[in-house]
Structure formats: structure tokens, C-alpha cells
Amino acid sequence: MKAAVVVFPGINRENDMVRALERGAGAHVSKLWHTETSLPAGTDVVVVPGGFSYGDYLRCGAIAGRSPVMKAIVSHAARGGLVLGVCNGFQILTESGLLPGALMRNAGLKFVCRSVRLSVENNSTFFTRNMVKGDVVTCPVAHHDGNYFADVDTLKALEDTGRVVFRYAQGTNPNGAINDIAGIMNEAGNVIGMMPHPENMIEPLHGSLDCLPLFESLGKAA
């Protein structure tokens, strides 16, 4: 499979993501600078990694979400291509309109950097098909604005159609996200965004391989 990892100014997790995609998904990975207006030919999955694009100015992900490369990513998604956004990547996907809702300042106002327990709520997605529904894995979070919010109708639609992919397991919600939501997907199921960093829980030096099956799922998706 061919993966493209998008790099905006201020992104800092791109190399972790490249390694996870190579190691876990067996992907051939290229990095894509934000001024590009097209994706490398044959790209199966576009990954928007974590960091602080444009210094989080205006709102987290707001400026990156409207940059030239996003048009190519929106077209890729409209064609059914896979898109994954992690942390700032999730914020960027909501700001670009690819995913509903918004990520707000953590309810506790503090930057949270620790491990949480993540429950797999839907195991029929391109990123979770190697998991079992209800599996709980350890996964790190590192963010200041991960407090997921959506209006009542959007939230109902997400819940009713199984589009909440990951939830913070009981008692580990680090940011006040509504319904403990940690990750969601779009209606078509080809765009997923999540706040935690699965790319940082895939090899022995990370302390656990808990999130490796996510990338193995992705490897089988295309």
C-alpha cells in the first residue's frame, strides 16, 4: 500500500507516523509538503499526523485545514480514498470539514501528556478490523485541545450509526470530550480522526505493542 504523510509547518510527529506505517502497515510511505496541490500517484491512504501546525494560531488546525494540499485530500476522500488524522491531524480534518464536530480546549485547561485506555467501539473500519469490538488498549495522548464537541443532532447521528470508533475507557477521559469520544469516522467510513497517538504504542521501546493491530488493519485495507 502507498501512504502519504502530510507535513505542515509546526507538525512534529511525522517521523513517528512514517515508522508506524512502514512497520505496522508495511506501507511505502512518502512525505507530502503542504504546498503540494496533488497527491503522489497511486496514494491509498493520506495520513495527517500530530503536532502544532501554524503554531495553533487562530484555532488548532484552522489554517492547515484550508491550505493548498487539503483540496487534494478532500478530492481523494471524495473518491473513496482513505484518510487518517491523529491529534492535530484530527483537528485539521474537522476544520477542513472532512469530519464533523470540533476539538475544543481541554476541560481541565491543562496540556495532557500521558497514557489513556482506549476502547475500540467499532471494529469494522479500515483502522480497526484487526481488533475485537470492546478491546481496550493503552495509548498515549498529548494535547491541549482534545475536548471533542458536536451539536446534539450530529452526536446522535455519530452514535446511532456506529461512527464513534474509539472511546476513552471509563474514568480515563483526559479532556472532557463529550460521550468520552476519542475518535470518529465520516459517513462513508473512509475518513477517521482520533486524538490519541497509536503510532507511539507499536514497538517494545514504547512499552507496549497495543496499537500495532491498528496499523496492521490499515495494511490490509488497500
Binding site: R59, R66, G101, A102, R105, A107, F149, A150
Partner: protein, 79 residues
């Protein structure tokens, strides 16, 4: 023309920063303070031939970038 944009969180959207400010105010002895909400203020110059045109242009900017209408309201003033 100079435009002022005021961006506020919608009603019902939790504002932890507003809550923290409220706590700090009450800690300083300011009594009777309630419903503190923090927002943003953006000022910009816009090329337009009249006020209506300027307002329309800035509102389009709000819809597209300056505000996130999922969680925020905006108000444009041309001065």
C-alpha cells in the same frame, strides 16, 4: 475600510477558559460575577466601495476561516 470581528462561543458550548476567569475574579473579591465567556477580537482593513460590500466580504471570511461555526458565533462591525 476597517472591520472589527467579534467571535464568541455559542450558548451551550462549555468554555473552560471563561470558567477559570470567573474563578479568578471571584478569588480577587469581585462579587456577583457570572457567565464569563471568553472570545476573540479580530481587526482588519478591507478594500470595499461601501459598508454593505465590506460587511459581506468579512462575513464570507468568517464563514470560511475566522470562525468555526460548529462552536462559534461571529459579529462583524464596519467602522
Amino acid at each position: 475600510m476597517k472591520a472589527k470581528v467579534i467571535i464568541t462561543l455559542k450558548n451551550g458550548v462549555l468554555d473552560p477558559q471563561g470558567k477559570a476567569i470567573e474563578g479568578a475574579l471571584s478569588g480577587l473579591g469581585f462579587a456577583g460575577v457570572d457567565n464569563v465567556r471568553q472570545g476573540k477580537f479580530i481587526e482588519l482593513d478591507v478594500d470595499a466601495s461601501n459598508e454593505g460590500e465590506a460587511k459581506k466580504a468579512v462575513e464570507a471570511m468568517c464563514e470560511k476561516l475566522l470562525a468555526n461555526t460548529v462552536i462559534e458565533n461571529y459579529r462583524v462591525e464596519i467602522v
